[in-house]
Symmetry: C2
Subunit: 160 residues, 2 copies
């Protein structure tokens, strides 16, 4: 527990404003350690989104069979992860030499970027609703909307 709290304390200092909820304005990374942690965390959330979206993309394309349970579970998780994104992405790492695919435009045009996150939140909430409703005729379109929200943001804010 002592070690955990020590680690926790460092993380607290590094990310004290992550998940403050009410405040969603961007904030500058305080130092290189903070910037590195921010990069790790935001890449982690994108990886989890990718892992959930993968099977859904396969289903939408017909490459893997439709699976109601996966649709519901992954839809729920995509919504949960989309709701975490602003808190992780708001840490502005532009001043530090970090290894990142995040373009400077994220923090230069923060409100536009947040709009893209809002689009992902809406699309994933819709997907989860469609999944719960169990109407197979709608799931491809709902998955497509999530994919479109991903792509729209990557086009503008992710380096190739």
């Amino acid at each position: 527990m002592k070690q955990l709290l020590k680690t926790g304390l460092m993380a607290a200092i590094l990310s004290s404003t992550v998940a403050s909820g009410a405040v969603l304005a961007q904030e500058a990374a305080m130092n290189e350690k903070h910037a590195d942690a921010a990069v790790t965390y935001r890449q982690s959330i994108f990886q989890l989104i990718r892992s959930n979206m993968g099977p859904l993309g396969g289903m939408a394309k017909g490459a893997i069979p439709f699976d109601q349970a996966v649709l519901e579970t992954n839809g729920m998780r995509l919504e949960q992860l989309a709701n975490m994104m602003s808190d992780y992405l708001k840490v502005d790492t532009r001043k530090f030499d970090v290894d990142t695919a995040a373009k400077d435009e994220i923090w230069e045009n923060w409100s536009e970027f947040e709009g893209k996150i809002d689009a992902l939140k809406s699309a994933s909430a819709n997907l989860y609703q469609v999944a719960q409703a169990g109407d197979e005729s709608q799931y491809r379109a709902a998955i497509g909307k999530v994919g479109a929200a991903c792509k729209s943001c990557h086009d503008d804010f992710k380096a190739d």
Copy 2:
């Protein structure tokens, strides 16, 4: 969209059984690519748990001020992440040369490991309840229980 679906398809093949919900038994990684993806995903979920636990550890220790909004938001997110863990950890990567701190004992003693995840789920669900109840006298103990669940599992299943 085409590129996304292509990526999605690959991810689908790599992780088709992630988040299948009903089936929680362990499964062997199919190949090195699958094993590598599994490592990336499970490290990602641990990073997100760490980022949420950090500020709470600081609060419990008194190193940073109590913040009701952070307690609620991070409590909720810890519960959500804890509920995702089994699906990510069940991919058995023992047969592949992956860079991991996950001990073989995870898959050798899967039911014991799942018990540790269940303990984290209970502790984080309790934390979120305490956070929502807004009783400041209880939050330190509730955070401590989550920390204890983390440590108990790391002691047995995480390499130093």
